[in-house]
């Protein structure tokens, strides 16, 4: 009986979404994360199973000029209680007019052009427990007004509500020893000021050039990590979020098979004012030997003016990578690269591959090696975290 009711309920829900023209899509995935080495801390594990779901519920009206999107996300991870988490990736109302767009709610906004790291991209907080590549972001509450002109788009952002960076728990990997004390985080500003941030961006395409200029003011997305000894004489690692100003520029020039890319930032308010940059190119050979295969060569240089004192992994590093796109029915893609530190010889190897199976399944494989980081390098904390991640997703 309950089954029948359940099915009737489900059928009703489906027909309601159809009548209202609500579009439901998304994925469910299962992930295996395995490590090649014993962990730095005995509380950590060698293997983690986890599952995630990210549905997207979308509705548009007013001839497509208004829309509502809701994208919740949930991951359950074995062992790591902090990686088991829920987030609202998107809950946005959007209104588009002839020369402006208003976007209100939880959103993700990406800025930039480079491949190795995303310096200019600052609106969203990194969901660091999701993936060590920092590409996953938490939904950011905001009011974003875009003014659209012939001479470019001006975006104004009022970012209402600060999101703390996620870090692995006691039993999780990709963390220092001891783990970062997420509950103890501190801020330079308090109350409403801690929560607010503001940003402005101008972006435009002129012929072969795509240009973006931006400025951000507010609580830094990237925390400094303070080391303290508490009353019980235990070492504590505490995230500290400063109030910063950050100006950024990102430029891409597209010329035949060559993409030239540069990104640069100046940040003040977090210690001494510093600047950082990423510059390089991506060159592609298309349809190699008429097999449909594309081969791309990516080379970038990563710089940070704080030098070896920089609390970041990349301050004087080179990325070289090869990208293979088979352009077959299954959209098979492979990316293999290495980032090496010019001064202390730390190397970071990364291989990513993905392929679709049938119409709805997709498999993704990542293998990463962090080799020979000396003790004073921020990458030292990953020294035992060489891993293989495999994920199988069903898209609906």
């Amino acid at each position: 009986m309950w089954l029948r009711q359940w099915i009737t309920g489900l059928a009703l829900l489906v027909s309601v979404t159809k009548v209202l023209a609500i579009d439901v899509s998304g994925y469910v995935g299962i992930e295996s994360l395995g490590f090649f080495n014993n962990p730095s801390d005995s509380q950590q594990h060698r293997h983690y199973l986890s599952g995630s779901i990210e549905p997207e519920i979308y509705h548009e009206w007013d001839n497509g000029s208004q829309s509502l999107a809701f994208v919740p996300f949930y991951r359950y991870s074995q062992h790591d209680s902090r990686r088991t988490h829920f987030d609202i990736r998107e809950l946005t109302w959007l209104k588009a007019a002839d020369n402006w767009e208003l976007r209100v709610g939880f959103r993700k906004e990406f800025w930039g052009v480079s491949e190795s790291q995303h310096l200019v991209d600052i609106i969203n907080q990194t969901d660091f427990v999701e993936n060590s590549d920092t590409e996953d972001k938490l939904g950011q509450p905001m009011i974003n007004l875009a003014l659209i002109n012939d001479w470019g788009t001006f975006d104004f952002f009022v970012l209402t509500g600060f999101r703390e960076r996620t870090f692995a728990g006691k039993e999780g990997r990709f963390r220092p020893v001891p783990e970062i004390d997420v509950g103890e985080e501190r801020y330079q500003k308090h109350g409403i000021e801690k929560h607010m941030a503001y940003a402005i961006r101008w972006s435009h395409s002129i012929g072969d050039w795509d240009i973006g200029l931006s400025h951000f003011y507010g609580t830094s997305r990237e925390p400094a990590i303070l080391t303290e000894v508490n009353e019980t004489r235990k070492i504590q690692l505490i995230p500290f979020y400063d109030q910063i100003h950050q100006s950024g520029i990102d430029v891409q020039m597209t010329q035949d098979n060559m993409l030239w890319k540069i990104e640069s930032i100046v940040r003040s308010g977090q210690g001494k004012t510093f600047y950082a940059g990423t510059g390089g190119f991506e060159y592609s050979f298309y349809n190699v030997f008429e097999t449909g295969l594309d081969i791309g060569i990516v080379a970038e240089y990563l710089y940070d003016s704080r030098g070896s004192h920089a609390p970041v992994v990349f301050q004087d590093d080179f990325l070289t990578a090869l990208r293979f796109a088979l352009n077959d029915e299954q959209s098979t893609e492979i990316l293999a690269g290495v980032i090496f530190d010019r001064t202390n010889n730390t190397k970071f190897y990364n291989v990513e591959a993905s392929r679709r199976f049938g119409e709805n399944w997709k498999a993704e494989l990542e293998v990463r090696f962090f080799s020979s980081a000396p003790e004073d390098d921020p990458a030292y904390i990953f020294r035992n975290d060489d891993h293989l991640r495999f994920e199988l997703r069903y898209y609906f």
Partner: protein, 270 residues
């Protein structure tokens, strides 16, 4: 010396009579094969001018050598830009893992096209190289260059003959790409003499061998002027695969403007 002049004169005279004979032929066909080819294509292009903008849904059915099939579905919006090159926005709906991916393209006659790709998982707009002409589109037998909007200036033309195919009287014209990075040395097009629409195209690869044949079926006329095929079939003779395009819900003059083909719209396309 006198002798030589005579010889030259004789040569001149004979070529002149030969030219005269050619002229007589030309009176019938009026023009050289090149000019004739260009004239037919210009007329075809003229008859398709003025549609303003269009929206359509597209299903792609990919069939491999063993008969295995896979499907893709897309939405395609086009804005006619007279004298420049059309703008188009392609939105992917399936396979589901690339749902929401969108592709914005500004076609140009002779300078490279401008293209942007929107990746919904990263919310990232990427300017991409438009040099990829001959590569496959979504793993299909259609190359990017087969799907970009047609501009007269992109090819040189040569009228070959006329031929009746399936009861339709056709001009047969050779098209040679003038743009860089094409995968073809030439294309042979069959143009319906009456309706000025393409019914069949043969594609010759860089080794001059027949690579693919495309058939256009079930043409429908919209707004009493614009012909669109409801089905297109591309067969690759070298790998035995084929791709069918099935067009649905064609709409014209829907009021799309440049604003519907900018990076802001690209980011919110579903």
């Amino acid at each position: 010396m006198k002798h030589l002049i005579l010889v030259v004169f004789a040569v001149l005279f004979t070529t002149q009579t030969y030219a005269l004979e050619e002229n007589v032929e030309a009176v019938v066909d009026t023009l050289t094969p090149e000019k004739q080819g260009l004239e037919i294509i210009t007329e075809l292009d003229k008859r398709d001018t003025g549609f303003g903008d269009s929206k359509a849904r597209l299903k792609m059915r990919l069939t491999n050598r063993n008969g295995g099939e896979s499907l893709r579905s897309l939405k395609l919006n086009t804005l006619e830009v007279v004298g420049e090159g059309d703008k188009s926005l392609t939105i992917f709906d399936s396979p589901r893992d690339i749902k929401g991916t969108a592709f914005l393209s500004f076609t140009h006659a002779l300078v490279p096209d401008e293209q942007w790709l929107y990746l919904p998982a990263l919310k990232r707009v990427k300017r991409i190289s438009s040099s990829n002409k001959s590569g496959p589109f979504l793993g299909s037998e259609y190359a990017f260059e087969d799907l970009t909007s047609f501009e007269v200036a992109k090819f040189s033309y040569k009228y070959l003959r006329h031929e009746v195919v399936d009861g339709i009287d056709c001009y047969v014209i050779e098209l040679t790409p003038k743009y860089e990075y094409s995968g073809y040395t030439r294309q042979i097009s069959w143009v319906d003499k009456n309706r000025y629409i393409v019914t069949k195209v043969e594609y010759y690869d860089r080794k001059e061998t027949l690579l693919k044949t495309q058939l256009f079926k079930e043409y429908k006329q919209y707004l009493n002027q614009y012909w669109r095929a409801s089905e297109q079939l591309m067969t690759n003779h070298q790998n035995g695969k084929s791709t069918a395009l099935i067009w649905e819900n064609y709409q014209f003059k829907t009021g799309l403007t440049n604003r519907n083909f900018d990076k802001n719209t690209l980011k919110r396309s579903r």
